[in-house]
């Protein structure tokens, strides 16, 4: 099946009609890292334009899920499936996922001394544009596009000439992730704690930046520990991930409940030995 089939606009109403093409469908996903089973039968369905928040205790497997979606080789999928726009995502190499519109905003962006942010971003953008059948950007076009997004995120142009993430503050690294997302215009963005380590003002700027990237067709999975980001970026659905599965799903009200009460009450409601799968 060709991906192009899904580009045809269908119903403009978002997340309501069952006829919407599914952006991402995760079924009974089992993932191990170095022999430990981290995800144990996770299910998640994301429609076009939907924003799903994922919360959960430290070490529950949120980043594992994000990394598996992006294709990190350290994570071994031992069962289940992930379908992205009708294709088997798990069979696609990392770069192909990115070229087809999957984007991960890293919880811990990697520093690469000596590689300028501009050079990296221009190469990445051109790979993605080429995959979309669009013309590559020259240095001038690139600066123009980059400039617009940097302004929105209140980032100085000098970021472009600095080595990628090297010596960036925690907040600057997160802004740089959102900047990359803006440049690459993904169909599905997974934001892994993009709000962590941001001061109040930065959080507002980053949230506004991400909100500006929200479109009726672009889907987002937002992993966070805090309500603050979700005040700006209101989710359509909220999930709590624990023990390797989604143990509770709800609307935006679930965010406030978690913020107020923590996870204890949800974990207590689980059956003593939770069966894997849904």
């Amino acid at each position: 099946m060709s991906v192009d089939n899904w580009k045809t606009p269908t119903s403009p109403s978002v997340g309501s009609s069952g006829k919407e093409p599914i952006m991402l469908s995760i079924r009974n996903l089992h993932v191990s890292v170095e022999g430990d089973e981290i995800l144990r039968g996770l299910n998640l369905e994301v429609g076009p334009g939907q924003v799903h928040a994922i919360m959960g205790p430290n070490g529950s497997g949120k980043s594992t899920l994000a990394n598996v979606i992006a294709g990190h080789g350290d994570y071994l999928v031992t069962g289940g499936s992930i379908t992205y726009l009708g294709r088997n995502l798990l069979e696609m190499p990392v770069e192909e996922r990115a070229r087809e519109g999957v984007f991960l905003s890293f919880q811990y962006p990697v520093e690469i001394p000596g590689l300028s942010t501009a050079q990296f971003m221009r190469s990445a953008l051109n790979s993605v544009l080429q995959a979309r059948g669009e013309a590559p950007v020259d240095a001038f076009d690139f600066m123009e596009r980059a400039g617009r997004h940097l302004d929105l995120l209140e980032m100085d142009r000098s970021f472009l000439s600095r080595s990628l993430n090297e010596g960036f503050s925690g907040g600057e690294k997160k802004r740089n992730e959102v900047f990359q997302m803006a440049m690459l215009e993904p169909k599905l963005a997974v934001l892994d704690e993009t709000d962590s380590g941001l001061d109040i003002d930065s959080l507002r700027i980053v949230a506004r930046g991400v909100q500006a990237l929200r479109t009726p067709r672009r889907s987002m999975i937002v992993i966070t520990h805090y309500q603050r980001l979700l005040d700006h970026l209101v989710p359509d659905f909220t999930h709590v991930l624990a023990h390797g599965r989604i143990i509770r799903s709800g609307g935006r009200e679930l965010v406030r409940q978690v913020e107020e009460r923590g996870y204890g009450w949800l974990l207590e409601e689980l059956p003593a030995s939770a069966p894997a799968g849904a």
Partner: protein, 445 residues
């Protein structure tokens, strides 16, 4: 063994009449050949050659070339604004400078040799050996020395003088002996570009034994760039012998890309206090190539500073060797010597040898060294690929970042074309880009 020695002496005597120089010079050649034959080519028994098997390359130059019958060649374009000397290894050196200002003397070594006692001072500079030298290649070079560039920068010279020394290697398996003599008078500066190519870009299996003698006067400033991109399975051994006067500064940037076996030696000796020495090099190996950087920095005076950084990127079964010796002699107090080597292996069949050696006989000195060998960082690879870059592209970008700081002026962002090619930065960027271009097209994971 004895047989082959006497045959070598015979060959030498046959060739001697065709070599430039007076009887005096020929007597020196004869003695050098005798010394060489007693010792033979460096081999595994020599500590400094342990990981660099030179084997037995053809050592006698071809008669046709010595007789000057080698064909002229079309030199590649010289660097913009540079004075040049081209030496094809098969024909006499040619000075490529329309007119010479009074602050620059540019000539050929053949003419120094022919003038005999008239150029006594130059001759002794040309034949001086660094005290650290143990092997016999310098002797072999003296015995068969054909030609090279003579270069003297006099006071009154502007700051940005560039001299481009181009050596073109002929196709085939000839032995090529060149020697350059470079003298910087006190307070002068020079960018010296030594550039080894093959004639008309053809593959060559030549054996090159090249020596460059460099003398820096008080406060002189030399930037020495060495680029070697020779196609084919040549064996290339080049040595820079440097004498640094008080408060002079010597910078070396070396790029080894071609040949089957290529070695660059830098033997730097201080002849006064306050010297600054900055040596950096990059080897890019593939197939069965072996690239070797050998350095010896001898601090014999107070307050010298030396910095060394050598890197290699290795594919397939290629090898790199770095031998870095720092010698701090008694009385050379306040010396600061730093050294590091880093290698990236792109295949598990590639090997990098690194051997730092510090010998310190003085007090109050700062010394450090470090060596790392590894693969490209997997988290960084994943990060780049997650932005849409192929494995090859991601590797090439990471390698670009890795190599940039050992190249003069860094690495240009794209492959230099047209007029941009004629800068020293472009001269280094070109071969590096061509190498990385290949990596970036690789599609495995």
């Amino acid at each position: 063994m004895f047989d082959s020695l006497s045959r070598s002496m015979e060959s030498f005597h046959e060739l001697l009449p065709y070599l430039p120089g007076s009887t005096l010079i020929h007597a020196s050649r004869q003695r050098a050949m005798e010394r060489f034959l007693t010792r033979g080519l460096p081999g595994r028994r020599d500590e400094d050659w342990k990981n660099t098997p030179l084997g037995s390359p053809p050592i006698h130059p071809g008669l046709a070339f010595l007789a000057g019958e080698g064909s002229a060649w079309r030199e590649p374009p010289m660097l913009a604004g540079a004075f040049g000397v081209a030496f094809s290894g098969t024909a006499a050196a040619r000075v490529l400078a329309p007119e010479q200002p009074d602050w620059l003397e540019l000539g050929t070594i053949a003419s120094v040799l022919e003038q005999g006692s008239h150029s006594h001072d130059l001759l002794s500079l040309l034949l001086q050996r660094p005290s650290s030298l143990e092997d016999s290649l310098d002797d072999l070079n003296t015995a068969y020395l054909r030609d090279g560039a003579l270069l003297r920068v006099r006071s009154g010279a502007p700051e940005n003088v560039v001299v481009h020394l181009l050596t073109g290697l002929p196709p085939g398996r000839d032995a090529i002996y060149g020697r350059h003599l470079v003298v910087l008078e006190p307070g002068t500066s020079l960018t010296l570009v030594e550039h080894l190519v093959s004639v008309d870009g053809a593959e060559t299996g030549a054996f090159v034994n090249g020596v460059t003698k460099l003398y820096l006067g008080h406060g002189a400033n030399l930037e020495h760039l060495f680029v070697q991109e020779v196609p084919g399975d040549a064996s290339l051994v080049n040595s820079a012998h440097v004498w640094q006067g008080t408060e002079s500064s010597y910078t070396l940037r070396s790029l080894l890309v071609g040949g089957a076996l290529a070695r660059l030696e830098a033997r730097v000796q201080s002849s006064g206090p306050g010297t600054i020495t900055d040596l950096r090099g990059l080897a890019m190996g593939r197939g069965q190539q072996l690239h070797d950087h050998f350095t010896l920095v001898e601090h014999a005076h107070e307050g010298g500073k030396s910095f060394q950084s050598f890197k290699s990127v290795l594919e397939h079964q290629s090898r790199s060797v770095f031998n870095g010796k720092v010698l701090i002699e008694p009385g050379a107090t306040g010396v600061d010597a730093r050294q590091g080597s880093r290698s990236v292996l792109l295949s598990d069949m590639a090997t990098a040898h690194s051997r730092p050696q510090l010998e310190i006989y003085a007090d109050d000195v700062k010394c450090s060294h470090g060596a790392t060998v590894g693969e490209l960082d997997q988290d960084a690879m994943f990060y780049l690929r997650s932005r849409g870059l192929s494995t090859g592209q991601a590797r090439a970008l990471m390698l670009r970042a890795f190599v940039a700081d050992v190249l003069p002026g860094g690495l240009l962002e794209t492959v230099p074309r047209g007029e941009d090619m004629q800068s020293t930065t472009a001269l280094f960027s070109g071969p590096v880009h061509r190498w990385l271009e290949r990596i970036s097209k690789q599609e495995d994971s």
